[in-house]
């Protein structure tokens, strides 16, 4: 493989764009939204994620290009997870990456790595998420929306975002507006939230852990939306989408068996003559 084709292939890796976008969101949050910037925690997130990835990759003698995924996971942790000590973030980083190598079914990892790390960290009692941290400003939502368009065109997983958001919006509208009689602004306020948009556009769209076929993905995203709706509306869990994704991830192998399709690859194989 010559150098030109390597560079060209690399440039086609959507993970660069994803890194850039998540990095922008983090910078935006720190600059404009007064997130409590603990640079030590951020540094630990990166170091632990990347080190874990490198260790696993060396051990399994896989290509090092997967470090990009570790960087994305680390950014995800920085964006979503808040901790009361750096050790929790270190463990979250290790858990996030290790889940990809340890919890596999037929060669595909089961859990969305960042989601797995976050759930584990929250269960430890020393971490939390701040769903309110994005506020409800138009600029913020515009930024995330813009990023979403960019990334979804790349990884072609917009079906997941659209299904999830539509189903959840439908269910919440039915309950909050049609049944309980709240005004529409209540529903809009719930969806005008960076956390839910980030989840819909950047977390469940992970092509590695979502079902391979489109039909499977639509079913999968609907189930996440449904469970998230129940957990949020009847059990008052504000982390509902994250928990729903975690639980529904168990069904991914089954869905892949029923709806067969080719597995996603970050860098499409090129055939050199």
């Amino acid at each position: 493989m010559n150098l030109v084709s390597t560079i060209s292939q690399e440039r086609n890796d959507p993970r660069y764009l994803q890194l850039f976008l998540l990095g922008s969101f983090l910078a935006y949050g720190l600059l404009f939204l007064q997130w409590s910037a603990r640079l030590d925690v951020f540094a630990v997130a990166f170091v632990s994620s990347v080190a874990t990835q490198v260790a696993w990759v060396k051990w399994k003698s896989q290509p090092l290009s997967s470090v990009k995924s570790a960087l994305i996971s680390a950014l995800g942790l920085c964006l979503l997870l808040r901790v009361d000590s750096v050790w929790v973030m270190a463990l979250a980083g290790v858990a996030t990456i290790s889940s990809k190598f340890l919890i596999r079914y037929e060669g595909k990892h089961v859990f969305n790595p960042t989601n797995f790390g976050i759930i584990l960290a929250i269960l430890s009692g020393h971490a939390w998420i701040s769903p309110g941290q994005w506020g409800h400003e138009l600029t913020t939502m515009g930024l995330i929306g813009l990023g979403a368009v960019g990334i979804l065109l790349r990884v072609k997983r917009w079906d997941l975002s659209v299904t999830f958001l539509l189903v959840l919006f439908g269910l919440e509208s039915l309950r909050l507006v049609a049944y309980l009689g709240w005004d529409w602004p209540v529903v809009f306020h719930r969806f005008n939230s960076g956390t839910i948009l980030l989840f819909a556009f950047f977390m469940i769209t992970d092509p590695k852990t979502s079902p391979n076929s489109r039909k499977g993905r639509i079913l999968w995203a609907s189930m996440i939306a449904l469970l998230s709706f129940f957990l949020g509306q009847f059990f008052y869990l504000y982390q509902a989408p994250l928990i729903a994704l975690f639980i529904i991830s168990f069904t991914t192998p089954l869905i892949d068996k029923v709806f067969k399709a080719e597995r996603f690859k970050w860098i499409p194989k090129t055939q050199n003559i």
Binding site: L21, L31, G150
Partner: protein, 486 residues
């Protein structure tokens, strides 16, 4: 006797004519002097166990006072208490935004002076309550069930459940509560969500026996997986923004709203000496600007501290004594048993100014393990006293001028205060004791003039640059249409 649901006003420092209400709505005559000055809540959360203490500065006839608060369950008699008003005053005084005073040492006679003092705001005075008899009809069958009925302290308390909002509205009206037109539609979601209603009015006989000339706070406790404050009901007839101060106690750490953004108040800012005389006004305007700057949709953190009995430093510096065992017991912090490490208590003070349009959802909270301390604290520094004619003294005076220049800029950025006389403060060190020359020219055009004189961080346009940069990034990193190499 008709009662009318009237909102109350509850700003902590804010003296204005804004109508406001609390997590329930108040039922009273709609005369303008009925507005409450404050709405304060003590929230205690331990697992699912929740204790809510509600205080108000009701300003009208007690016979007109009534309050409706949505509660998740029918409360038993032992779950309702009347507590003394002092607990709020103590918590408020302890956690209020503070002005700290420092003294410069005279560089010509280097003796270290160390003295701190706090400027504290005063609370609005309570009004007198006039007693008058009122009759109440029996419950009629409007789909309204009286689940329980108690007389506790000076209050008559009803726990209602309803099948539909019109029935409840009619029932309330029939029983002498005149509720605002919009109330029924606000009641509806709570009824459908199987919420009970905690309806309180003053028992005039008891009130007279007790001899209080004000209404004491009511405390309710219950088990619920929901950790929230129903603010929407109070907005039924409110026009302007309403202020709510939440004093929260948990075992673990800070209380944080999950459906609104939390913003820390500016803190540790150095402000001119004369702010001392206008600290109340300063904090009002500071809060007002911060409120607008954050898009009128944020919840503000004013204080966060570990107040466990075993914790050493409970404030830095303390405005007033930190909560003691008696305060914990009154507030409902039942896990504090004494000087031991099991008695961990974390205190959070939140300040919310809410309006109908920016706060469409009730406030929902979570208890986080975040035990980082925070206090809203502003600093004034007294210049050195005595002869400053030595060389170091001249340098000191020059530095002082620079510092005061920054202080004046800070004042403009924080509170929006400008006054040409401030130039004298900066330059004329010797005239610093002139009384009231620096009286603020408070800007009444806020928030229209909010950007004036602001140089605190990024302005609004910078926010829009960000999406543009991202757009460029997306374009640069976009996929190529065709892959050339195959």
């Amino acid at each position: 006797m008709k009662r009318r649901i009237t909102a109350i006003f509850m700003a902590m420092l804010i003296i204005s004519t804004d109508v406001s209400a609390f997590c329930g709505f108040y039922v009273a005559k709609a005369s303008t002097d009925l507005f409450n000055e404050k709405s304060e809540v003590i929230l205690v959360r331990d697992g699912d166990h929740t204790v809510i203490t509600m205080s108000n500065d009701f300003k009208g006839d007690v016979k007109d006072f009534a309050m409706v608060v949505p509660v998740p369950v029918v409360l038993r008699e032992d779950q309702i208490k009347v507590v003394e008003r002092e607990i709020f005053d103590r918590l408020d005084a302890y956690s209020a935004p503070r002005l700290v005073e420092y003294h410069d040492a005279n560089p010509c006679e280097p003796i270290v002076q160390y003295d701190m003092e706090m400027a504290k705001r005063s609370n609005a005075p309570m009004s007198m309550m006039i007693r008058e008899e009122s009759a109440e009809e029996d419950a009629a069958d409007y789909g309204v069930t009286i689940e329980a009925q108690y007389t506790i302290g000076e209050y008559d308390i009803l726990l209602l459940s309803a099948e539909e909002s019109d029935g409840l509205e009619t029932w309330l009206t029939r029983n002498g509560y005149q509720i605002p037109a919009k109330a029924a539609e606000v009641l509806e979601p709570y009824i459908l969500n199987d919420t009970k209603f905690f309806v309180v009015k003053v028992n005039l006989d008891k009130q007279q026996q007790k001899g209080f000339d004000y209404l004491r706070p009511i405390q309710i406790s219950f088990e619920s997986d929901r950790f929230m404050l129903p603010i929407r009901l109070g907005m039924a007839n409110a026009n302007g923004p309403q202020d709510l101060i939440v004093y929260a106690f948990t075992r673990k750490g800070r209380v944080e709203p999950v459906n609104y953004r939390t913003v820390k108040m500016p803190t540790a800012n150095k402000v001119p000496l004369f702010v001392n005389r206008y600290f109340g006004e300063f904090y009002q305007d500071l809060f007002h600007r911060a409120y607008h700057k954050e898009g009128r949709s944020a919840v503000f953190l004013e204080y966060a501290w570990n107040v466990s009995p075993m914790q050493g430093v409970k404030c830095d510096p303390c405005v007033s004594p930190p909560p003691v065992f008696g305060d914990f017991a009154t507030a409902g912090v039942n896990w504090v048993t004494g000087m031991n490490y099991e008695s961990q208590v974390f205190f959070t003070r939140l300040h919310v100014r809410y309006t109908k349009d920016r706060f469409p959802q009730d406030l929902q909270f979570q208890v986080t393990p975040n035990s980082e301390h925070f206090q809203a604290r502003y600093i004034i520094t007294h210049p050195a006293k005595g002869d400053l004619s030595c060389e170091a003294g001249e340098r000191y005076v020059r530095d002082l001028e620079n510092r005061r220049n920054l202080e004046v800029k800070e004042l403009s950025a924080l509170a929006g205060w400008t006054n040409p006389n401030y130039a004298d403060y900066v330059t004329e060190f010797s005239k610093r004791f002139k009384p009231d020359k620096y009286a603020p020219q408070r800007n009444s055009f806020l928030p229209a003039a909010i950007l004036q004189g602001t140089d605190d961080g990024m302005s609004d346009w910078a926010k829009w640059i960000f999406p543009l940069v991202v757009l460029v990034g997306v374009l640069v990193l976009r996929p190529k249409r065709k892959r050339e190499i195959y």
